[in-house]
Symmetry: C2
Subunit: 121 residues, 2 copies
Amino acid sequence: MRVTSDRALDHPRREDIRLEAVLHALSDPMRLRVVAFLSGVDDEGAPCSAIDLVVSKSTSTHHFRVLREAGVISQVYRGTAKMNALRRRDLDELFPGLLDAVLRARAAQRRREGDAEPVPF
Amino acid sequence: MRVTSDRALDHPRREDIRLEAVLHALSDPMRLRVVAFLSGVDDEGAPCSAIDLVVSKSTSTHHFRVLREAGVISQVYRGTAKMNALRRRDLDELFPGLLDAVLRARAAQRRREGDAEPVPF
DNA sequence: ATCGTAGTTTGACATACCTCGTACTACGAG
DNA sequence: CTCGTAGTACGAGGTATGTCAAACTACGAT
């Protein structure tokens, strides 16, 4: 993953990721949606703008930051964009099966409620 | 489970349990501890007082209510006590593997941080 | 009938959360 | 260099959260 800016972004080290923070980060529908989206994207990640959150830009920034500070996603600048990627490897090592269970749970809930989408996020 | 009081307690029906609410309920250390404790108890459940939360009684009441309203536990009066039980069956049907993943994640985190307890909760 | 135990209710307080608009910065393209 | 795009920072508003103390209710035991 090429970084084209040295603007620094604080990420918790893997061993500092706390379960409570992860669960809290995942407890918001907006953020859960981001995570679901990123789960279907390669390691490069996707820019914030790739996900239509239907909220203001500042709110969007806020949610991405919550996810990053909880250790759920990593963010890195590339050009004018900021690439977001799930920290799947770290999460799986720390909390095996958790992320998958949450994603499956969300998918199941969406199926039950019939709000499927063409693109599954 | 014998109920000895008709004081009513509202529980969400299984199909009304929302993933976001469950994750939020689980994102508090106090409540996570309650859930971990209840996971090691039979279907009868345990009274609130069985878990030493080290908070005031009103705070304790609050946390148990959050768990109940999210659909994580069921509560029923029995005599002067109020029995609390994990809604394991409902959660497992709705979100297979989620509860177990969370409990294992918490256990793993506790091991990493070395704050094991004689009784594992 | 009285007492103790278990839990509830109310009200309060400080903090955190989600949301927004506006003004701002960083970068690539022309 | 200028412009547009992507995202940030700041401040504000409203709501929710976690906490407590004090007064209360419900029940079993004596």
